[in-house]
Symmetry: C2
Subunit: 140 residues, 2 copies
C-alpha cells in the first residue's frame, strides 16, 4: 500500500488506537477519535473517560515522544476485506488555546459533533504512513 | 470495570490490537485475531499478512517482553455505547508443535475457521485486565 493510500484510509477511519511507551518501557494503548490534517493527527481527551487513564498517554508522550497510531478494518465473514494502516511519528502536547490547538479542536468538532474536549491537545507529526490490505483496494 | 468483566469483554471481541516496543524504544502496533484461555492470550501470524511486517512483533517481544493488547467498541451514533478493555502482560514465543502451541492453534481454529496459521505462536501472560465503559454495562 502506498503512503498516500495509507493516509487516505487512515483519515477516513472513525476510530484509531494510540500506542505510547511509559517511563518503565512498557507499551500503553488506548482508542482515540482523531482528525488528520496533512501529516498531522490531532486528538484530545474527551470529557467522558476516566481522568487517570486519560492522562497516562500525555505523561508518556512527554517522556517518550515516539508513538504509533493504528486504524484497521475487521470483518469475520470476509477476510479478503481486511486492512490496516499505521502512522508512526512523534507526539507533542499542544495548548488548546493556541493557534494549532484551536485548529485541532475545530477539525475534531467537524468530524465528531458530539465531542466534549477537555485539557491538552495531542498532535502526532507523522513520519511514516504504512499499511496492508488483504486484497486489492476496491474503492480507493 | 472489574478485571473479570474486562476479561469477559476482551474474550468475546473478534479483533484486538497488539502493542510491542522495538529495540529502538518505539512502539509497534498491529491488529490481531486471538483466543483467550484463562489469563493467556494466544495469537499467531496468519498466512496472509506480509512476512516482514508480521515478524516485527516477534522480534520486539524477544527484545522487550512487555506488551499491551486492546479491544474496543466504537459507534458514531451512540457514544454511550463505547467501551474498551486492555490486557497488560508479558509476551513469549511458543513452538506451534509443542503442547501449548498446539492448544493455542486449536483454540484459534475454533474461533476463526478461516485461519491459516504460519510460524510461531505468541502467548501473552496477562498481569492486568482493565477497561472503561461510557455507560453501565447492558448485557454483562
Amino acid at each position: 500500500m502506498t503512503p498516500d493510500e495509507a493516509r487516505a484510509r487512515f483519515a477516513a477511519a472513525r476510530v484509531a488506537r494510540l500506542a505510547t511507551v511509559g517511563a518503565d518501557g512498557r507499551p500503553h494503548l488506548v482508542p482515540i477519535v482523531f482528525a488528520v490534517d496533512d501529516d498531522r493527527i490531532y486528538s484530545v481527551v474527551d470529557a467522558k473517560p476516566k481522568r487517570t487513564t486519560a492522562l497516562q498517554r500525555l505523561v508518556n508522550v512527554r517522556e517518550h515522544p515516539a508513538v504509533a497510531v493504528l486504524a484497521d478494518y475487521y470483518e469475520d465473514a470476509d477476510w479478503d476485506a481486511l486492512w490496516w494502516v499505521r502512522a508512526d511519528g512523534t507526539g507533542r502536547i499542544v495548548d488548546p488555546g493556541g493557534d494549532e490547538g484551536r485548529r485541532a479542536l475545530v477539525r475534531l468538532a467537524e468530524r465528531y459533533p458530539q465531542i466534549q474536549p477537555t485539557g491538552d491537545v495531542l498532535v502526532v507529526d507523522v513520519d511514516r504512513w504504512s499499511g496492508w490490505a488483504a486484497a486489492a483496494p476496491r474503492d480507493l
